[in-house]
């Protein structure tokens, strides 16, 4: 176990996701206590005091987001759990949806109580099948038990939840794109201001929190902010779910306590690389974070400050371990194809820039690269950064600049010799 565990605290069995098992683990007891002994603002105060960070990628403090919502302002408020897990390399919310759906629902009820939300939503990506079925079954169980609907736990509190299924669009994982989608439209992200906590779903104050962020609420309210802060580091309280994949021996979802040593995580908890392979670099938090070489990542501790100092970010916790022998030009080509495919097309820099970068790298791979192509990729990345309505311009730029900075030689080689330094291999090389 990579440090203390706050979410993955029970053995996964064939029934551990059910209401009966959850109740046996004291499920919904925190909700009952909060509804009967706490005021909504007490819940928010506890969440703020815990220092809980958003786990969707931006690590924005959850309490500060909640704090923007004015209580008793005579208009509906909405809560949306963001389960549109689509950042390549990220599959950690899936674990919660499949194995702890009631933890998410109880947490959403607590959040709804705190934020005076009558209608809550879970926006789940359309491709997810088992996670959807597990969550949908949990919602029905919770309704049957009276945990949703009118007079929850015999109090005045009422709340309904809808599971809203996406239909294939990366951009809907961005909070405002997600709301456009729940409104039944294309998933176009929106300009800020206004913030979504001021004008969100159908122009009403709306809090959009990542599934994992929300899942932590129940524990925070159950054990208090102080207990939560005892886990992790001073600046990074708690834990983060890491989904690790790639050329790693034991891919999967791990709950990692902030401050945990990365070398130990990679080489002991995850069992090191696949047999015969050596770590070349790590994509640390989904492909939209800058890649770190083995030498850069191994001395780090698992927390935002440590990764920021190394010039990258923990992002969504989607780690991809890349083995020696992997062609970084092809890897970036796969990434840029993805961004091109997923650009919603709304704003100019992303709509035009993604295709531009994709065409440039396709041309390099086709052996028709030109020396100035590398500078073009840098320049397009820089000029998209901060210029798009959502963060996608920045994201593609980080992916590109991260790889170009560290593996420029592989690009120069392909452009000069019209072929890959590493035979275009993506599957890593096995060393004797």
């Amino acid at each position: 176990m990579p440090g203390k565990q706050l979410l993955m605290t029970f053995p996964v069995t064939a029934t551990s996701h059910t209401l009966a098992d959850y109740v046996a683990r004291d499920g919904y007891a925190t909700l009952r206590r909060a509804l009967t002994t706490m005021k909504p603002e007490d819940v928010t105060r506890e969440v703020t005091a815990s220092g809980l960070l958003g786990h969707g990628g931006a690590a924005f403090p959850a309490g500060r987001k909640w704090g923007v919502v004015h209580l008793n302002d005579h208009q509906p408020h909405y809560l949306c759990a963001n389960a549109d897990e689509g950042e390549p390399g990220t599959f950690k919310d899936r674990w919660i949806l499949e194995h702890a759906p009631h933890l998410l629902l109880e947490s959403m009820l607590l959040a709804s109580y705190a934020l005076q939300v009558r209608n809550a939503f879970v926006y789940i990506r359309g491709e997810f099948d088992l996670p959807y079925r597990r969550l949908a079954a949990a919602v029905e169980e919770a309704y049957a038990a009276g945990h949703f609907g009118e007079r929850i736990m015999g109090t005045e509190f009422a709340c309904d939840v809808v599971i809203y299924r996406g239909a294939g669009s990366y951009v809907c994982g961005e909070a405002s794109g997600l709301l456009s989608s729940i409104e039944g439209k294309r998933g176009y992200p929106r300009n800020r201001p206004p913030r979504l906590t001021v004008q969100g779903l159908f122009k009403r104050p709306t809090v959009v929190n990542n599934v994992e962020t929300l899942a932590n609420i129940t524990g925070i309210i159950a054990h208090g902010a102080d207990a939560y802060k005892k886990v992790g580091t001073a600046k990074c309280p708690g834990t983060q779910l890491v989904s690790i994949s790639g050329h790693i021996a034991k891919p999967g979802v791990y709950e990692v306590e902030y401050g945990y040593p990365m070398a130990r995580f990679l080489h002991e908890d995850c069992g090191g690389m696949l047999p015969g392979m050596k770590l070349k670099c790590l994509v640390p938090g989904g492909i939209s974070t800058k890649v770190l070489t083995a030498a850069e990542v191994e001395p780090l501790t698992f927390d935002h400050q440590s990764f920021a100092a190394a010039g990258s970010s923990l992002g969504s916790g989607g780690m991809i371990a890349v083995a020696e022998g992997t062609c970084m030009v092809r890897l970036l080509q796969v990434m840029l194809r993805f961004y091109h495919h997923e650009s919603c097309g709304q704003c100019t820099p992303c709509r035009e820039g993604m295709g531009w970068m994709h065409r440039i790298i396709d041309r390099i791979v086709a052996g028709e690269g030109r020396p100035e192509d590398i500078d073009s990729l840098y320049r397009i990345s820089r000029l998209q950064d901060g210029m798009t309505i959502c963060g996608m311009g920045d994201a593609a730029g980080y992916a590109t600049i991260g790889i170009l900075n560290k593996y420029r030689g592989e690009f120069e080689h392909w452009i000069r010799d019209k072929r890959s330094l590493l035979a275009g291999n993506l599957e890593g090389a096995v060393h004797a």
């Binding site: 097309g345 704003c347 100019t348 820099p349 709509r351 035009e352 993604m354 000029l383 210029m387 798009t388």
Partner: protein, 480 residues
């Protein structure tokens, strides 16, 4: 009233303004494609970037609220770099085919390219190909390669005309503006406004397609006579200095197109499609010869004959035109009102299928100057005026009178501009000028007066109603 500073200059802004609005209102220019003063903020083109002093990044002005003491730079080095980059992104897949584009000469993209980019293409990639000619509606073509997806047209149909006719299909760099498949754009009587607000050459008028380069044309301010709203318009026609001598000289006196003339008091920046089609009204076959009982006579002969009829009449009725200008109506009143019992006539009735009225511009009365005519000559009942049976002379001014309903024995003096069968049935027929051949004013239903100017010269054989009334009156009083 927050005070902000634009390029160091203090500016008094309104509390709810954006930086874009405050800048434009105070004489600072910030370029924009997708922003439009009448539409919601889309913030998608990213050309309007400004820099807040002290920040190392740029932001879009169209969505930036003013705050007390805000310091923005509209032309810093960073802003210039990003504008240039945005122009490069925008032209990346734009064909830059200005040579064959109707928008050339009045194209925002063309202007900004010169102002903010002005460099050869930095991309060597093949451009994304898209539909070059798409029938968006019976009136409008769409060139998707030129489209920069600013969404102005889409927002117009959702927020202004409310037809919800347009949308953006697909995504990414293969997004396409398209009309809904049940084709409500054809049913949107305001559809052609999207041509004007398109900042590039993507949306073009089919009737105007390749008809003229805009720099050969000049706009003359006018008023749409299509209904009592009286929208102000520009009538575009060939400039005198570019007059065609050999090739189809008819074009020199033709209406090339009609566009809105922005007017906050009446129509804002919009007009309906009927206003675009004024050529269909004004360019109908013209009556250009006076007649007596269907036989051509010289204009002075007809005028003298009319005078004689007026002189001889005991119970004379006049049906005055609701298409007459304020000046013409006043001239009639001054010169002839004493001689006639006067009714206001509706020259035009709604056409079959025409929208009667709505909340935007279209009004039920399809005549431009009923308000003035009624103010001068009183209310007449709706529909056709009831001409008394003992009437022995009817002066019919303008269209819309069914001669069959006039008393059978009454003599008829008919003043009309167009070639119509009734002309020959009148005892005296006098051809008159049309709106594009004279200057004048109309008063709309709400009392707002708007002026129109002369576009073309009238033929000498055609009378100006304003002078004609004076002539009829002078002869009628002076003659023994």
């Amino acid at each position: 009233m927050p005070e902000i500073f634009i390029n160091g200059q203090p500016v008094q802004a309104q509390a709810n303004q954006t930086v874009m609005q405050a800048a434009l209102a105070n004489g600072f220019f910030i370029p924009y494609f997708c922003w439009h003063p009448q539409l919601s903020i889309a913030g998608n083109c990213r050309i309007c970037t400004v820099q807040v002093e002290g920040r190392s990044w740029v932001e879009i002005a169209c969505n930036m609220p003013v705050t007390e003491g805000l310091h923005v730079l509209t032309d810093s080095e960073l802003v210039r770099e990003h504008r240039k980059a945005t122009m490069q992104f925008i032209t990346l897949n734009h064909p830059v085919d200005c040579g064959i584009c109707d928008k050339a000469g009045e194209c925002t993209l063309q202007d900004y390219h010169f102002a903010y980019n002005g460099s050869p293409s930095v991309s060597r990639e093949p451009k994304v190909r898209a539909t070059k000619y798409h029938d968006l509606s019976a009136r409008i073509m769409l060139d998707n390669e030129r489209c920069i997806l600013c969404s102005r047209c889409v927002r117009f149909t959702r927020e202004i005309s409310k037809s919800n006719a347009l949308g953006i299909k697909n995504r990414g760099d293969v997004s396409l503006v398209r009309a809904a498949e049940d084709a409500p754009l054809d049913a949107d009587p305001y559809s052609d406004n999207v041509i004007d607000i398109c900042p590039v050459g993507a949306l073009l008028s089919k009737p105007f397609l390749h008809k003229a380069r805009v720099w050969y044309l000049q706009p003359t301010p006018s008023v749409c006579p299509g209904c009592e709203r009286g929208c102000t318009v520009n009538i575009w026609h060939r400039k005198a200095e570019w007059r065609l001598r050999a090739l189809d000289p008819q074009q020199n006196t033709s209406i090339a197109r009609v566009t809105p003339l922005e007017n906050p008091a009446v129509n804002g920046p919009w007009i309906c499609n009927k206003g675009r089609d004024l050529a269909q009204v004004f360019e109908r076959p013209r009556a250009d010869h006076a007649m007596q009982k269907g036989k051509p006579v010289d204009l002075p002969v007809a005028i003298a004959a009319a005078r004689t009829l007026i002189d001889a009449a005991k119970h004379a009725v006049a049906l005055v035109s609701s298409w007459g200008s304020n000046e013409e109506l006043a001239a009639f009143k001054e010169a002839l009102a004493g001689r006639f019992t006067t009714f206001v006539k509706r020259d035009h009735e709604p056409l079959a299928g025409e929208r009667l009225h709505d909340d935007l511009l279209i009004r039920p009365d399809k005549n431009p100057n009923t308000a003035s005519a009624r103010a001068l000559f009183g209310e007449s009942s709706a529909g056709e005026p009831a001409v008394p049976a003992d009437t022995d002379l009817v002066l019919v001014w303008g269209e819309g009178c069914n001669f069959g309903r006039l008393p059978a024995k009454a003599k008829i003096i008919f003043l009309n501009a167009y070639l119509q069968p009734e002309n020959g049935h009148a005892d005296v027929f006098i051809p008159v000028s049309i709106q594009t051949e004279r200057a004048g004013h109309y008063t709309n239903f709400a009392g707002v007066v708007s002026g129109f100017e002369r576009c073309f010269a009238k033929k000498p054989t055609v009378a100006d109603a304003q002078n004609l009334f004076a002539a009829l009156a002078v002869e009628a009083t002076v003659a023994p």
